[in-house]
């Protein structure tokens, strides 16, 4: 369980996150939604310590980021996007590396097969399409086997089949007790997979439980000021 209390962050005088407090329980998927440039990625960076937040703000299963950084990071996985993969290395190089660095016991070939990557897991990242890279990145999340997965716009560049495949995998991870925080602009997908949705607006979070409401309409209401249709 990730517990965040009074998280503040600013770039210079520009406040990005203002006094955020929330909890992400085990076995849940939380959607993170906001227009571009609002602070979604900044929030994810803060949650994994890439940007400073201060002590006693974030604990993951009771472990404080600032007191036990290594133990904290050992329980999460976050890589912002597939452009940050190592272009000269193969997919399997990345997976082997992640497995060792996170001391994971996940079987690589099972993961590769489950994501349909048998045809290209020995190829270098630079030779892959965006969709293939997104698969490689998701495979790294699965191989790390971390409790908390911070996933930033994972559906970019994916075809509808792959989107469904990713959603299925998210659901499987949730069923396995993992905690997922997934930022996305695909409101229909957010509606399908999320238990809760965080709308990030005016430097703070508006949390909504997913009760089957029209998420696109919610987005329009919150960010575009549109009236909900009866």
């Amino acid at each position: 369980m990730l517990k965040v209390q009074h998280l503040n962050f600013a770039f210079g005088h520009q406040v990005i996150l203002n006094d955020l407090s929330f909890t992400l329980p085990d076995g849940s998927i939380t959607g993170l939604v906001a227009p571009n440039g609002t602070g979604k990625t900044t929030l994810l960076r803060c949650l994994c310590g890439l940007l400073p937040s201060g002590p006693k703000v974030m604990t993951l299963n009771g472990i404080d980021l600032y007191q036990k950084r290594k133990a904290y990071l050992g329980q999460l996985f976050f890589l912002e996007n597939s452009n940050q993969l190592y272009a000269d290395l193969t997919v399997i190089d990345h997976l082997k590396y992640v497995r060792k660095m996170w001391h994971s016991g996940v079987d690589l070939h099972t993961t590769i097969a489950s994501l349909g990557m048998n045809g290209y897991y020995k190829k270098r990242i630079r030779d892959l399409s965006l969709g293939m890279k997104q698969h490689a990145l998701l495979a790294m999340y699965l191989v790390a086997d971390a409790q908390l997965m911070l996933i930033d716009e994972p559906l970019n560049g994916l075809d509808p089949t792959s989107i469904r495949q990713f959603e299925r995998i998210f659901a499987e991870q949730k069923a396995a007790g993992k905690t997922l925080l997934v930022s996305s602009h695909q409101m229909d997908s957010v509606a399908r997979v999320s238990d809760n949705v965080f709308f990030l607006k005016d430097q703070t979070i508006l949390a909504e439980a997913n009760t089957g409401q029209d998420m696109m309409a919610e987005y329009g209401r919150i960010f575009l000021g549109e009236e909900a249709h009866a």
Binding site: F11, L73, G74, Q84, L89
Partner: protein, 402 residues
């Protein structure tokens, strides 16, 4: 951290910089080869010329002394001395001519020439020790430093004693140019070559630390559930080892190229040096090569630690290159013997960046013994890495841009 090291090593090895570094190392090592590639019989001819020049000088001196029809006792003794030297150098030239006449044939006997040179060298040593060194006309040995002191004379005697004992030609004799083993040793003794090799190494190290920045792939590394210092050490080890292996590959390639072109030579050939102010000793060029490699390894480690520290503070490849370049530029005798630096020189890493003067006790600046030099290099590495550790303990600062 083995996984991080393996990953860093693999990534760095696959960059084009490594290929460029390999070619640069090769070019540096081949400068002398290309310089003399069109010269025939360069070593043997030069050495024979050295003997001939000595002979010409002796002839001239003797002619001048004989003009005096009523020489003093001292002049008569000097004339006798010169005549004796002339007789001996005549024997040397005769033996050298015989040697040159058989050069290129399958088997030649180096002993007659070595014996005559040794005889002359012993005489010169005796005269120098007796304080009559100014009466000598000394000959230069190609590939060896020229030193008119008693120590220098002792070195020449020991060199030819060893060559005679091993039935081995002086390295320039009976060879068109230096064979591979001797060529590489000469390059390893050249201050210019060593400093250029270190400069190429600094470029490889700077590129190694800039890789993530250049490829925008720093994120994963910053998120790893491991200490940042151990990750840094893995990068230092990977960049340093890759640089050294690239150099080793270049050295191996040059050895094959020169060996194919000019012969292989022998790693048992002796190098003569003076470990103290009044004793001389020999080391084989094979042993010298190993010692040189060890010291160069430590040099590389210091430079890698420096590159890590500068990169950590500045995140600038230019600053990393500049700091490495400054350390290398400071490794020249003019700087290390300058007034303010002279008393501190032995504590500076730059004093030990050229393995040749350190191992063969030929430095003109103040130095510790080899073990002391090793301690200085290790000490600097530890200090630089310690500063890296301190830097990584500092709280992260907020970026001003997302």
């Amino acid at each position: 951290m083995l996984s991080q090291f393996a990953l860093d090593f693999k990534r760095l090895a696959r960059t084009s910089t490594t290929i460029v570094g390999y070619l640069a190392f090769m070019l540096v090592l081949l400068i002398s080869f290309f310089y003399s590639i069109n010269d025939g019989d360069i070593g043997a001819v030069r050495q024979f010329d050295n003997f001939t020049q000595t002979m010409t000088q002796l002839d001239h001196d003797i002619t001048q002394l004989r003009k005096d029809k009523t020489p003093s006792k001292a002049d008569a003794a000097l004339l006798a001395n010169k005549a004796k030297q002339k007789a001996m150098i005549d024997d040397v030239r005769l033996a050298a001519s015989a040697e040159q006449g058989t050069a290129g044939m399958a088997v030649t006997n180096p002993d007659p020439l070595n014996r005559t040179v040794l005889k002359l060298a012993r005489y010169q040593l005796k005269e120098t020790e007796a304080g009559r060194g100014d009466q000598l006309v000394l000959f230069k040995i190609e590939g060896e430093a020229f030193d008119a002191s008693v120590l220098g004379r002792k070195e020449t005697v020991l060199l030819y004693q060893t060559l005679l004992k091993q039935h081995r030609h002086q390295q320039y004799f009976n060879a068109l140019r230096l064979p591979a083993a001797s060529y590489l040793t000469a390059e390893m003794r050249s201050g210019r070559t060593v400093l250029l090799l270190l400069a190429v190494l600094v470029v490889l190290l700077a590129e190694g630390f800039a890789l993530d920045r250049r490829q925008h792939t720093e994120a994963l590394r910053q998120n790893l559930p491991h200490g940042q210092f151990s990750l840094l050490l893995a990068r230092v080890a990977a960049a340093g080892l890759l640089g050294l292996l690239t150099l080793a590959a270049a050295v191996g390639s040059v050895y094959l190229l020169i060996g194919w072109h000019d012969g292989w030579g022998s790693w048992a050939y002796p190098l003569v040096y003076a470990p103290t102010g009044n004793t001389v000793a020999t080391v084989t060029i094979g042993q010298y090569g190993l010692q040189w490699s060890g010291l160069f390894l430590l040099d590389a480690f210091v430079l890698a630690a420096l590159a890590a520290l500068v990169d950590l503070f500045t995140r600038s490849t230019g600053a990393t290159l500049a700091s490495g370049g400054a350390i290398i530029l400071a490794a020249n005798a003019a700087f290390l013997t300058a007034g303010l630096v002279r008393p501190l020189a032995r504590f500076l890493p730059s004093a030990y960046l050229q393995p040749g003067p350190v191992l063969l006790h030929q430095a003109s600046w103040s130095l510790f013994e080899v073990r002391g030099g090793i301690a200085v290099l290790i000490g600097w590495s530890v200090v630089l890495l310690g500063l890296c550790w301190l830097r990584l303990q500092a709280p992260a600062t907020v970026k001003t841009k997302a």
